[in-house]
Symmetry: C2
Subunit: 321 residues, 2 copies
């Protein structure tokens, strides 16, 4: 049997066929063109999936389930997308619409949850019974995997780890609250801190490299820190301290077997991992107790397709965990 996984993004639809181990056998993609009516987007999701299926050499009879990762909130019982800001979708009956083209069981979940599931089935956290995935990008997304299955909560709004309060009356967040975790741990936060440092210290390597303040990005700041620029190092130190505190909040809450870091910032690799791992013990509640291993995600862009395909597989086994 094979599994269809669809990664629905704001700019691209990627569909793939995987086996039960989460290996991608074939894939296809097309532009989302988000401003179209949702029915056209769904039609293209189906045709992408069918193209990938054809490439894989399998027929529709071999397909067990369809899983979809969306940049938003889904209701799995009804199979609807509750909302998806990037696509301007609200209450879209995605399952029903897709089943007009491919009549197989459809399962939908948030893209960060799906990426976390991919790592836990076919990536760095494979074999871990519980893991928490953090995407460190423009925002911070989260995926919680318990006993090998995604935990999305009683109302589908769990694992919004970017919006845990990390600072009472802290930096205002795009979500309307203040002091959310993603204001301190996202790439956006790192860039904000880097730009502040460049403004205060025009002699920094950060500004010399970037040329102008608006050209400062996350990678540049991390590169400057790696090269020993004291201002960049201070920013990186502050950023990784916030991340260590966030990870400790995850440990105190769920105590997972593993914590997996993904998203753009995780491209900093071992340099990031070393800095974060070094700081975590400072914030542990029980210094003498073991805690979840912190690792970098390994599946990259493939995580969207793999996790979506695995979503169908694990949810078909039984409703939630």
């Amino acid at each position: 049997m094979v599994y269809i996984g669809i990664d629905l993004g704001g700019t691209k639809i990627a569909a793939g066929i995987t086996n039960a181990q989460g290996e991608i056998l074939a894939q296809a993609s097309t532009a989302t063109i988000a401003e179209r009516p949702y029915k056209e987007v769904v039609r293209d999701m189906a045709s992408c999936a069918l193209r990938a299926l054809e490439k894989s050499g399998h027929t529709i009879d071999a397909v067990e389930t369809i899983g979809i990762g969306i940049p938003g909130i889904a209701e799995n019982k009804a199979g609807t997308v509750i909302f998806c800001t990037n696509l301007g979708w609200s209450n879209v009956p995605l399952r029903d619409e897709l089943q007009k083209y491919i009549n197989k069981p459809v399962f939908i979940d948030n893209d960060a949850t799906v990426a976390g599931l991919a790592e836990s089935r076919a990536g760095v956290s494979r074999g871990a019974a519980s893991s928490v995935f953090l995407t460190l990008g423009t925002g911070v997304g989260g995926g919680i995997i318990l006993n090998g299955k995604p935990w999305t909560g009683a109302h589908g709004v769990a694992s919004e780890l970017g919006h845990l309060t990390l600072e009472l009356e802290g930096i205002p967040c795009t979500c309307g609250k203040d002091g959310c975790l993603e204001r301190y741990c996202s790439a956006t936060a790192l860039i904000r801190m880097g730009r502040e440092a460049a403004r205060l210290h025009p002699d920094s390597l950060i500004l010399a490299r970037a040329g102008s303040e608006d050209k400062i990005d996350g990678k540049l700041i991390i590169d400057c820190a790696r090269e020993g620029d004291p201002y960049a190092m201070k920013v990186f130190d502050r950023y990784t301290r916030y991340l260590a505190i966030a990870i400790n909040t995850i440990v105190s809450f769920i105590d997972p077997e593993m914590i997996v870091l993904g998203g753009g910032i995780s491209m900093a690799g071992q340099f990031l991992l070393d800095a974060v791992r070094e700081k975590i013990p400072n914030y542990l509640m029980f210094k003498a107790m073991p805690f979840g291993r912190v690792e970098l995600a390994v599946l990259g862009n493939g995580a969207g397709i793999i996790g979506a395909a695995m979503l169908g597989m694990v949810l078909k086994e039984g409703e939630s965990l």
Copy 2:
């Protein structure tokens, strides 16, 4: 079949016999005398349990399991108490020691987890598949129940909700970290804020009622707020705002079906519940989505015995959730 539940506290050992519905059929208690060698404490735990069993009219053959709630951290696979500050215990082989007296399966967990399980089996959250329990006392304890079973994490240190970071570089906590949730949401925090208010406003009802600053306790502050004293109202407003933020962090993380408030502060009843419920929507990430109902615990002191008894029952059904 019946279940033995033992609530091991720093000052009192309470043991009870329950049926499968979590109804207490008989109970017995004795002083802990924590400074004794642990073997003597365990011997008294067993004799308390056997006395309760005799009172219940059942024989040892009817006993299915023994569950124990401890004010500390347990390792359920080995059946050991890893540590228990109040009792001065560390790495105590509680299961082995207790089975010298009563040879039945023994399950051990943290007291807040056990109280949360009690509410979810026989109390206010009965019927909810997922719930999070918060004890608002000297500190803040937490219990997480997912699919009807306690979630204690990969290393037994989950649900330490009092030690989530709520304020970066915030008020120093007894655990060694700064800005922990319990520094803002415990009875201790409410008292600290009340005493500050009394110091700044000697004309407050708080000081008039208490006589002196050191006599100010949580109940007095809440009573003054209830009676309309503007300073007490301001303190209560701030306290319930922190609690609403903490509850929203729980919603964003786990999105449980219910959130249950227990511990001393929950004795403020509907007055507390109304204030907290009113504030929660201000901090919701998804304003249009439903979220877990917030309720008060109903089992009071019985929760320790009931939850411990239910712990044996649910864990015997299968390892964790």
